[in-house]
Subunit: 305 residues, 2 copies
């Protein structure tokens, strides 16, 4: 067989195996047909091709408005290894480089603001160092935030539910509300800390309160979103990653003063969503064949005193 040309059968077999791997029956994007690869080339995907492949699984993708863009580097280069993480910190970038990975999929911003605007950071020494480090190692950082939350089920939520051992309580028709066996608030806090590997949480409520209806909103969805979840579900407890202290926390404080049994647990933003980027590994690995996909946790940056 001519090494540069596939028989029709070989090409069909490759595409069929590829479709099975990505787990979708949609028509493949144009790049998949553009050049019949040799057998040894089947693993040679560009980073942009990995992104496009992921997007075939997201309802409504690509979005016109999204923060999920490439933050650094050239997506047309061949992907050599993939790292998933919450924050592409300097330490995570160094770890990715040491693993031979050139593609970091991060849930949160790289440059300290939601839209990763960098013009105001042009002369900033921290920005410059990080940017140079990424260039030096030819690493592409792509944010996977809006799309991962839009995936059905929400990839972040599934990661957290998996770690909490709560997948059996998940209801796809009402994914943010879990009805769990009755437990005290303090026991719930203990379980969350242990299963998610969190050193300390902040909370508002009576540790002895019995909790059964749990509203779960990892990350920092914003005060209005968090309070509207409370209005809709009337849970015993709301578990979030982060709050703005003048929003949800004050609402809960007032609710407590009214003797309503609504408590709040604040896990920490990074700790509350990192499981979703860990859960990305077994989801993505089968879709990219023999490209290594590794989760590198960025961890919670704070200490307490």
């Amino acid at each position: 067989m001519n090494k540069n040309k596939w028989s029709k059968n070989t090409r069909r077999e490759f595409l069929s195996a590829f479709s099975a791997a990505i787990g979708v029956s949609t028509v493949l994007p144009e790049w998949a047909y553009a050049k019949p690869p040799s057998i040894s080339e089947t693993a040679k995907m560009t980073i942009q091709q990995v992104i496009d492949l992921i997007l075939t699984t997201i309802p409504g993708a690509p979005f016109n408005e999204t923060v999920d863009t490439i933050k650094s580097g050239d997506g047309q280069q061949e992907v050599k290894g993939i790292v998933t993480t919450m924050f592409a910190t300097i330490d995570v970038i160094k770890k990715a480089a040491s693993l031979g990975a050139n593609f970091i999929i991060a849930h949160e911003p790289t440059f300290y603001n939601h839209r990763d605007e960098t013009s105001w950071l042009d002369n900033d020494q921290v920005f410059q160092f990080k940017n140079e480090l990424l260039k030096k190692h030819n690493i592409v950082v792509w944010r996977f935030h809006d799309y991962w939350h839009t995936h059905r089920p929400d990839g972040v939520l599934m990661g957290v539910l998996t770690k909490l051992g709560w997948k059996n309580y998940f209801n796809s028709e009402n994914p943010r509300l879990l009805v769990i066996p009755e437990t005290s608030l303090e026991a719930l806090i203990g379980h969350a800390k242990k299963s998610l590997g969190i050193r300390q949480v902040r909370f508002i409520g009576n540790p002895k309160q019995i909790c059964k209806r749990v509203a779960l909103s990892p990350g920092a969805a914003g005060g209005r979103s968090q309070i509207q979840l409370l209005q809709k579900e009337k849970p015993d407890v709301l578990i979030v990653g982060e709050v703005s202290e003048w929003e949800t926390a004050e609402y809960i404080r007032d609710a407590q003063s009214m003797k309503l049994s609504i408590s709040l647990i604040v896990l920490g933003h990074a700790e509350s969503e990192e499981p979703g980027m860990e859960w990305l590994v077994p989801w993505l690995q089968p879709k990219v064949a023999d490209i290594n996909v590794t989760h590198v946790p960025s961890h919670y940056p704070f200490k307490e005193a």
Copy 2:
């Protein structure tokens, strides 16, 4: 003397004493001239008149765009007593009522969002309860945020500096940067906790780091503002009330990875600005004669576990 008419001398004496009391030499607002009050009426001010009086001390006031509006009640009623606080929580409202006060000056929102928009809360039981409680006691809540920060010196900053015992390090030309005697980060944290009455803080940094240049930004100024303060002042440590965890905290974490000596202390939003509402009492009391001005702290709502 006709009780309803002052002699020219009596009126001049009253206005002179009044000008001295409010500590300004600007022309008094129209209401001060509108009706010559009897002696017994000199203490009878409306709540709106107290607000107007405060605004005579704020550069550029009144602002076209500000969140410092009346959130509840009728400002035309006579002021019977004033309470200053960070958050007009349900507990603070009850305490104000028990003190016979009908005017709460709060630094932060009343209804769980920055602009105190309430249309989305119309059917919310917590909003309804709080709103009814305010109506029942005829209490006016006015936010004093933008104006208090615009006062020179910034009223919140002065309250915090006073409690920290750092007024001698204050430089009005560069109010956010304090050069203090060299101290370790852990000793600095200990001092802040003790002097501000804080149970626990979160921080990023090496407890043994020596700190001398302290950037102080109470409240939650936002990531860009906090990071730009770091860029401008290159402090050893930044002390703030609150951060969004994907902004300043990640910048500091990356700076630490670069071995830069920039640490972060997060005091808690309420704890970091409450001293500014306490400082408001001795500032405002002489301006409103025999109307009681009382500070009622709203305290930090969280517990740790």
